[in-house]
Symmetry: C2
Subunit: 189 residues, 2 copies
DNA sequence: AATCCTATGAGACAACTTGACTCATAGTAC
DNA sequence: GTACTATGAGTCAAGTTGTCTCATAGGATT
C-alpha cells in the first residue's frame, strides 16, 4: 500500500488541512504553525511534520481548500450573465474565509514565490474569462466597450474587492450596476 | 531630561523604525521581530524591547512612516482634480512599500483590532474626501452622479488597487479614465 | 485468523528563540 | 566636573523548533 491510499494517512491529512484552514480563518496566517495545527487537528506534532515539513506549504494547501469565487461559463445575454456572476462574487466576498484567503494571497505573494504563483493563477483565470465573455459580447454587438476587455476584471471586481477588504462594508447592487455600466455601452440600454 | 527629548533615545528610535520599515518592505510583516530589527538597526536587542515591548506596535508605527496615497484639497474643475489625484495614487501603488503597507493592512486588520483601526481611518479619509469633492461637483452642476458619492472611492481606487495588488500589473491611464467616466455624466463631455 | 506493512502518538533531545533582568559604560544636560 | 539615564553586552530561565526513536495499532493480504 502506498501512502496516498492509506486511510490512516488520508484521515490525518484531512484533519490537518481542516485545522490549518480553521486557524487561518480565526487567527490569520501566522497561526498556522505545526504545534497549533497538531493540537487543533488532534494529531501528534510529528505527524504534521511528516505530512508538511514546511508550514508554508501547508498554509498554501489549506488556502486552496477554500472555495474561491470564479466565473461560470458565459451565457447570453452577457449583461445578465455578468450581473449574476458579479453578484455571486459579491456574496463570496462577504464570507470571512474568502476575505482571509484573498488578502493573505495578495499580501504574502509580495515576498513568497509560491504564493505569487497562486495569486497569478487566480487573477489570470478571472481576467481571462471576463475578457473572453466581453470580446464575445462585443462581437455579437451586445456592447461597445469603453476599455480593453482585459481591464474588465479590474473595473468590475476591483471596486467590490476594495469595498470588501479596505472599506470593509457591504457591497450594494448599485456598485455592481455601476461597474457593469462602466464597461461600455450596452445595446439593451 | 525626559526620554522623548534625549538625542540618544531619538536616535535609537529612528534607527529602529527605519530597520522595521526596511524589513517589512524586503521580507514582509513576519520579518519584523525584535532580533532582526535590532541587528538591522545596529542597536542592542534590549533597546528594541525597551522602545517597543510588542513587536506588533512597532510594525504599526513603522507602517505609519510610509507615505500613503491621500487626496489633496479639491480644485475646480473636479474632473481635472480627480484625474490628477487618481494618477498620483496609481503612481504610489506602483511603489513596493505602498503595496506592502496596504496589503499588510488589509490582511492583518482581519484579526488585529489595532490594525483594523488604522485600516478604517485610512479608508475613511479617502472615501470622505472623494465623496465631498463629488458632492460639491454635483452641487455645481459639473456632474450627474451615476452612484452614491460614497461609492466613488471603491469605484475609482478599487480598480487600481485590484490591478496593482491582485493582477500585479501596471495601471494604464485608460483604466483611470474609465473609472472617472463610471462616476456619472460629466457636463464637460 | 494470522501475517505483514507502515502511519501514528508519545516522548526524548539538542539547538535555538524569547523576554526579562543586571551592570558597567558613555552620551548629554547643567 | 557632576549627575542623570539610554545603551550594549551579557546572563538566564522558559518556551519553541525540528529531528529522531520506538512501541502500538490500523488496515491490507493471505
Amino acid at each position: 500500500m502506498t501512502s496516498e491510499t492509506d486511510p490512516r494517512f488520508l484521515r490525518s491529512r484531512e484533519a490537518i488541512l481542516n485545522a490549518a484552514r480553521e486557524l487561518l480563518l480565526e487567527s490569520g496566517p501566522t497561526a498556522v504553525t505545526h504545534v497549533q495545527v497538531a493540537e487543533r487537528a488532534g494529531v501528534g506534532r510529528a505527524t504534521v511534520y511528516r505530512h508538511w515539513p514546511q508550514a508554508e506549504s501547508l498554509l498554501i494547501e489549506a488556502m486552496a481548500t477554500v472555495p474561491m469565487p470564479f466565473l461560470d461559463k458565459p451565457t447570453i445575454p452577457t449583461r445578465e450573465w455578468l450581473r449574476r456572476e458579479l453578484t455571486a462574487i459579491a456574496r463570496q466576498l462577504e464570507l470571512d474565509d474568502v476575505r482571509a484567503v484573498s488578502t493573505t494571497l495578495a499580501n504574502t505573494a509580495l515576498w513568497d514565490q509560491n504564493m505569487d504563483a497562486r495569486r497569478a493563477q487566480f487573477a489570470g483565470i478571472l481576467t481571462d474569462r471576463l475578457a473572453a465573455a466581453l470580446d464575445d459580447a462585443h462581437a455579437r454587438g451586445e456592447i461597445t466597450l469603453a476599455l480593453t476587455s482585459r481591464d474588465a476584471a479590474a473595473m468590475t471586481i476591483g471596486p467590490m474587492y476594495y469595498r470588501s477588504t479596505i472599506e470593509r462594508a457591504p457591497i450594494d447592487s448599485a456598485l455592481i450596476e455601476a461597474a457593469i455600466s462602466a464597461l461600455g455601452t450596452w445595446s439593451t440600454d
